[in-house]
């Protein structure tokens, strides 16, 4: 235990010659001269090899102790690695009892190992930094709360696909969560913007603490800022019904959002309330339809419609194409928005 070097993040990338590149981020504790608090920095090591274990053995030779991944919190996949399939490289995580199943998974634009090498000024430990970014994205309903453990069943389920946090390196050498990576079975197949991600999570009944949107509701105001409204979703109700008629699957998806207006520069919400409800309902219904088109293009059954078919219409499921069924499902989407609060001024 004394010699253990704790791994905080793992990154998987595709390397040349049929090899892969494994990156690990390990913490370095520095006794600070001024105060009692020790500063925790981090260091990134990487090695190429055939499998994650193979790479890890090589890194093990480099560090002055034994790598211990039992406290690992995050596994990042480079885009190319994720597109090849994320299940096989995770095998070792499930097989070795010492590994932590509480870790979560993310997909990084480009190479994942680059994200471990960023150097944010206010937080010298990369792992803490990325974790906090993800936690805040979870709170804001941009990415769902999930762990390797909860993902395992969804990965293996033919009737359900999953979404992962999608991260990107900023020009200023910091990281941002830029929405969701859509997975088709176990492969990366597309991504969504933060606003779309948030709406997808609402449609999937996986709201976090907050769900904030800014929408254009007026057209004619001279001062541009007066055209917009910002709100947070307070309560929501989602209804998803799967219908089968002559082997054709259709889905009725109703979303009822009760919102709290946080910013309306034009002022006086109650006067406009009926029109705002109507305009926002129409806008969000349109947006929802677009989000669904996008996930259908990526063939990512994030709603688990296939699982519902297996459960309640097993005969229909038998006849469907198991790979491409999701693209052919007809969605009827309706979002209803209702303003219930408008802050401490009208």
């Amino acid at each position: 235990m004394k010699n253990a070097v704790l791994v905080q993040i793992l990154s998987y990338d595709v390397a040349d010659n049929d090899e892969m590149l494994l990156g690990v981020s390990i913490p370095i504790v520095e006794e600070s001269a001024e105060g009692p608090q020790a500063r925790v920095k981090s260091e990134t090591l990487s090695a190429k090899g055939h499998t994650p274990r193979d790479c890890r053995l090589k890194i093990d030779r480099e560090v002055s102790g034994i790598l211990d991944s039992s406290k690992n919190k995050l596994i990042l996949f480079g885009e190319r690695m994720a597109a090849a399939g994320i299940y096989p490289p995770l095998d070792v995580i499930w097989r070795d009892p010492r590994n932590s199943l509480g870790a979560t998974i993310g997909v990084v634009e480009g190479e994942a190992v680059n994200l471990l090498e960023i150097n944010p000024k206010h937080e010298p430990n990369v792992s803490e930094y990325i974790q906090e970014a993800l936690t805040s994205a979870e709170e804001n309903s941009i990415v769902p709360v999930q762990t390797i453990q909860t993902l395992a069943s969804e990965m293996l389920d033919p009737g359900e696909d999953f979404v992962l946090p999608y991260l990107k390196i900023n020009k200023k050498k910091s990281a941002v969560v830029v929405g969701l990576a859509l997975m088709d079975e176990k492969k990366y197949s597309g991504n969504l913007s933060p606003q779309d991600s948030c709406l997808l999570l609402l449609l999937n009944n996986k709201k976090g603490k907050y769900a904030r949107f800014t929408k254009r509701v007026n057209k004619e105001e001279q001062q541009k800022i007066k055209n917009y409204i910002s709100f947070n979703v307070q309560n929501m109700k989602r209804k998803l019904n799967v219908h089968v008629k002559n082997g054709e699957v259709s889905v009725q998806l109703n979303l009822h959002l009760k919102i709290n207006v946080e910013e309306y520069p034009k002022g006086d919400v109650p006067k406009d309330i009926d029109r705002l409800n109507k305009v926002l309902s129409k806008e969000l219904t349109e947006d929802a339809k677009q989000v669904i088109t996008k996930i259908q293009q990526a063939n990512c059954d994030a709603f688990g419609i296939g699982r519902r078919l297996i459960a309640f219409h097993p005969n229909t499921w038998e006849m469907l194409d198991k790979m491409d069924y999701f693209k052919n499902i007809k969605f009827k989407t309706n979002v209803k928005v209702e303003i219930i609060k408008n802050g401490i001024v009208l």
Partner: protein, 366 residues
Amino acid sequence: MKQNKNRITNKQLVFMIIQAQIGVGILSLPHDVALLAKQDGWISTLLAGVISQAIIFAFWGLSRRFPSSSLYEILPKLLGKVVGKLFILSYAIYFMVTGSLVLARYSDILDKWILPRTPNWVTMVLILITCIYIVSAGLTSIARFYVLVSPILFVLLVLIVYAMKDANFLYIFPVGDHSILTILKGTKEAAFSMLGFELFLFIHPYVHASGKEKLIAITTANIFVTFFYTFLVFAALVYFEPNVDIGLTPEPLLYMIKAYSFQVLERTDLFFLSLWLVVVATSIANWLLLSAMGLASLFRKKHYARLLPIVAGVNLILALLPDQGRDFENFNHFLGPTHYIFIGIIPVLLLILSWVLSKKEVVNKP
């Protein structure tokens, strides 16, 4: 006359049967059942409870006809001395082999999950010493210990219920999609985990209760175990995708709670395993008791305690033989039919024989 320190109450009987039934199989039961019956595994488990109940009725019938004799005393009475002794010997060997399998599976799981660098014989010897200590103290002490450790089952239950917050209840549908035959195949697997109630045949003379009360006691135990198992299987079925995922995880219940960490507790599976150890110890103690009792009556020893180290030694040697997963399968395949013979067929035949020969004990009414 039975010694006073060997008396147990009817309530203690309930706990003894429960502890005997719940054992090493609890961790892998959902996997074994789901491999065959998929999402209908929980129905299989319920049916297994019904089947054990039927056998329990037969046991009870036998105990009614011989209210103060254990099976080891009934055998010579019904079959004659020589054949009876032969049967006693085979029972003793059967319990020894079953005990060894339990021991081997226990140390295999410990080796895989928490103590990969500890030699297996160390974990085996440690639990055997503990079990010898428990068993040598006599029935009353065994019963009290079993009652004392029973709350552990509720802790296990609570941990599993907590894990169900991430369950997907759609996995259980469509209910009854598989044919009766497939479900019954699952029942066969589940029935092996129900074993242990045969303890009743050997301890019923020591229970201080009327025949009817005894029946209520073992039925209560069996119903509890059946629902406990059914719930565990159900929990695992809604947690893991029932076609592929659960097939890949031989110990689904451990996997379920491995991912969760609490404020003061990380790697919850380690905590779960250390509680599970006690549950396994009680069932190993059981097999030890039964085979030592058998040998004692075979050699006309008054007390079985001296034979315990011998039985434990044989257990240890047998348990050290298998050293890979495939050996367990062979071991299990070999034991499968013997379970039917010793637990199902022989007691039922004895009951019928006692009817046909109209042999029964003369009860001295005070």
